[in-house]
Symmetry: C5
Subunit: 111 residues, 5 copies
């Protein structure tokens, strides 16, 4: 799994039937910053993940890839290879808290 920031969403009307009705979010994987190691920085990659938890823009989430993405009740028959399995409250690295979720109500008010 990896930590990613929710930065957007995609719209697709013409899609495989099993995917209709699901939110498809743009997620960008993050990593620990190499030098001071006190923050998370983007890896520069862009993926799309199914969201069943109601993640909002700028939330940091935990993403599962591969066949395990079908191990949630909602995704079990879906041709997806990435699903959001948790919305992160905090990320701790080397004794420091490098991410804390702020203002949850505001951040979940739209995608």
């Amino acid at each position: 799994m990896f930590v990613a920031k929710v930065t957007g969403a995609v719209v697709s009307t013409q899609k495989v039937a099993a995917m209709v009705g699901f939110k498809l979010l743009v997620v960008e994987p993050y990593r620990v910053e190499n030098k001071d190691r006190r923050s998370l920085v983007t890896t520069g990659r862009t993926l799309i993940a199914v969201d069943t938890l109601g993640a909002g823009p700028n939330d940091f989430v935990l993403v599962t890839q591969g066949s395990s993405a079908r191990l949630t009740p909602e995704t079990k028959n879906m041709p997806t290879d990435a699903v959001i399995v948790g919305i992160l409250d905090q990320v701790h690295v080397g004794g420091d808290c490098v991410y804390t979720r702020q203002n949850e109500e505001a951040s979940s008010s739209g995608t």
Copy 2:
């Protein structure tokens, strides 16, 4: 999953029986541009995906990889690890619309 642009197709007469009759498209994964973050740019990678939706050249599509590529009705017994699961209408990043599908009739008129 990832966002990719359809840029071509492959022709193969000598292939595994389960793949006969399916369209095999050249797809190039895209990512959010790092600086202004208002466009999608190519990752420089090239993959081949099965298409069951009728995607055309220059369409942006959603591609599923791995065993999940066999979770569509058409691909369930096929030795493929990549399938197009949606044709994208729009991609939104950071509040901006970074892609809108244009002129659908024209773009789907050939591969």
Copy 3:
């Protein structure tokens, strides 16, 4: 899946029983050239794939990875994660034909 060039083969006498009798080819994944986009260039990577189609040196082939590599009749119980599922006749990108198979008889005369 990806497009790869067959460039060699490996010999292994001491191997897992299920793999005895199968041809194991050296394949190098190719991608669309970034600038003129009129040719395929190597990615610099090297993989080994099971061949059940009789691909020869310098053939461009379509390779499936992961569990889907076990979805051909010959490979279903084999511990392989890569199989050649098609020998390519042509690859089209952006309206151009960037690869055409030539002289099939000559190219399939050895590995």
Copy 4:
């Protein structure tokens, strides 16, 4: 599998039900240093893995990815793609011992 250093943990209250109650550690994959080959160095990547063995900060662990991450008794129905399958005591490369676990009691006293 790969060797990784445990460097932190994530906290998530809003997550898929099957993941409740499991420790989710930040792990950074390491590789053999290229020149002297007498140490392990970070690859710069950051992943999150389920821990069922009680690994602590700075421990080097063995991580399994993909569907095989569901092959432990605790993770079999969990939508995870990474699990810690061993805490490493030693890593040997080229005749040298490039890592020895030290002071186990201290290192396992917190995350």
Copy 5:
């Protein structure tokens, strides 16, 4: 699959029960050298694979990744994503033999 050189081993006493008693080798993936194409060179990556064939230090082996790593009789219930499926005798690229196993008895005398 990929070609890798066996360069070491890991020791882990605290591990998932299904992995007890198996040899876990350090393997470094190799690729064809880009210019003269007459040798194999390291990719700089480091992985750990289960060995059931008795591979020794400096042997070049064939490694299978992902769920297919569980398709050998010994590994079928094991949470591993990488297994050695063959010890290589020769690797041929472009008509040249770029690797020949030498002095098997000596090389298999220890890990």
